[in-house]
Amino acid sequence: MGSIRVFLIATMLATMTLFNFVATLQGYQSSLEEAERLFDNHLSQMVKLIANLHVEHMASNLNQSSDLAYQLWHKDQLVASSANSPKGFITELTAGFDYANFNGYRWRTLVHYAPDSDYWIVAAERTDQRFVLAEKVIIKAVTPIVLGIPLVGLLVWLIISRGLKPLRNLSFQLKHKQIDDLTAVKIPDLKDELEQVVQSINDLVRRLGSALEREKRFTADAAHELRTPISALKVQLHNIAEEVSADSQSFAQLKSGIERMQHLVEQLLSLYRFTPEEFANQFERVDIYLLAQNVLAEQHDAFEARQQSLELEGSSCYIEGDPFSLGALLQNLLSNANKYTPFGGEILVSVECSEGKVYLKVEDNGPGIKPADIDKVFERFHRLQKNLDQVFAQGCGLGLTIVKHVTELHRASIDILPSRFDSGCAFVIQFNEV
């Protein structure tokens, strides 16, 4: 339905205009009929006046206007008449009102018989004159109604805008609520209709806050509690490494499993660290290109192990951000590219600034992501490929979730587009430049 305000103003104004104007037309018709009756009364008074006048005084006592014609007949003889009346009968001498045409106009006629004097008095008025006169009076009453509609429209707009102000306040508050602000919504002068809505929203926010707190606590506790035994396991693993043969498959699987578990815990910790409530670090000016250089240098060995070409292009571009989380973002994207790009593949990282935006791109010539999977890749614990045999290193499905999370914390956007290679995809993150 679009805007409630526009809907209310448009429909109310349309309804009011429609009914007002139709009523005006009805009033116009009724007024015309009433005016017709008044004119008829006037005509009949004129006839009575003529009946009471002496013939010789008639011409001097009656106004010789062009819109009134009269005749006085006695025994089929025209005794007196106005200058504008025809020579013959204006109309048939039958008592009562009727219409007649003469002198190029239509006339309203009244025939009256005076039995005492045996006179037939005929009076007539031009219908067009009567109509113009009546319409002139009625239009004077109608015009303010038409001219008043814009004023009514303005009033309707003001009243509805005033009435919807609490709703607008609520909408404004919700729209401008910070991502980590889980405090209750407060609307001054809350109306009854909105009380339940605000109450429900606050209830929802409260439950959301509790859920987030529980999740945060669980993640933090679980990660912390798991880190200690994993460290102990790694020590034990190191100790028994000398006791088992180097090509023991069981030992290799045990080592791989422990490393996977450690990676999962580290990722969970990262996720916890970057939740909005905990993201209290002050942003600083970060050169994304320099950051990318450092991260690439750190991760170079992993790419070399898979004989992949890793390149960085671009120049220094600055954003406001948290270097640690941005580093984690890039590490995860590179780790992702490293895992899913085949041996000998190509990975290209580029940093460029354009029109106030900084674009960080990580492209590869791996298998790419199916369009249907694009929305799912950022979900927690989602793996890009079901067949884990194809995956080179361990993964827990949290990497891209962390990437998305860090992106959101920096008010940036992320898109997955086709890469510039024949296959593969490009993760494009758009930051605001400083």
Binding site: T11, A14, T15, T17, L18, F21, V22, L25, Y28, I139
Partner: protein, 273 residues
Amino acid sequence: MFLNSVILIFQETLEAAILMSVLLVFARINGIRPTWIIFAIAAGLVGALIFAFNMADISDWFDYVGQEVMNALIQLIIILCLTVFIALQSLRSRVTVSRHQNLIYITCMVAVVSLAMTREGSEIFIYIGMVLQQPEYIRPTLTGTGIGAGIGISCGTLLYYGLLGLPPRWAPVCGATLLALVSGNFASQAILNLTQADWLPYTKILWDSSVWLPEGSLQGHLLFAFFGYEATPSILQGIAYIAGMLFIGLSAYVGYRAAVHGKKLQPRGELVK
């Protein structure tokens, strides 16, 4: 003059208002921004002014029947645009349309509204222009114009929100039915214009309802504005009316068949905005 102005302006405004309302509803259903209506109205107003100022010359065309022929031509182009529009609407309600088809769809809407406004607007401009030359009629005419336009625009506004308030499945059906009625009305009027221009022969009267529902009555004027009612339509007009409606129905079917057979087209997804 007052009542004449009300009736004339109301009839002309309502025809355009119905078209605009229904097309705006379709645009909204399909997620098309309403900016197209601004271009359509602007083009319609310019067209109406050009048409009105050159009416004397236009009337001299085709052996002094230029006005009738041009009116008929405009009405027939509107029917053609509505036919293409409905076919594309029927198609896009089932499959995702291409950008090219979307462009044709929007062009049809702009053409329909601007042409309707050109025709209706020019008649209003000519009428008001004539009346302004007689000072005693200015006030009743302008008051009547305000009331006629107010009622017409109000009906259009309520129709728009009424259609939007219908269940999603019924809004396009009702909108298409209204467009079919408008198309039939325009086809009948086009035939009448061409008959008056002696381009088509006079045929027998289909019926005569002037006794119980005269065209000059308030109900007659209302029915004319909504459905193109005439008390004494000719057989040719009746045929044209039905043909105009059938064109719309047929084009909806063509769009439906194209969608059903268009298995090569993408499955229904996000519509082109």
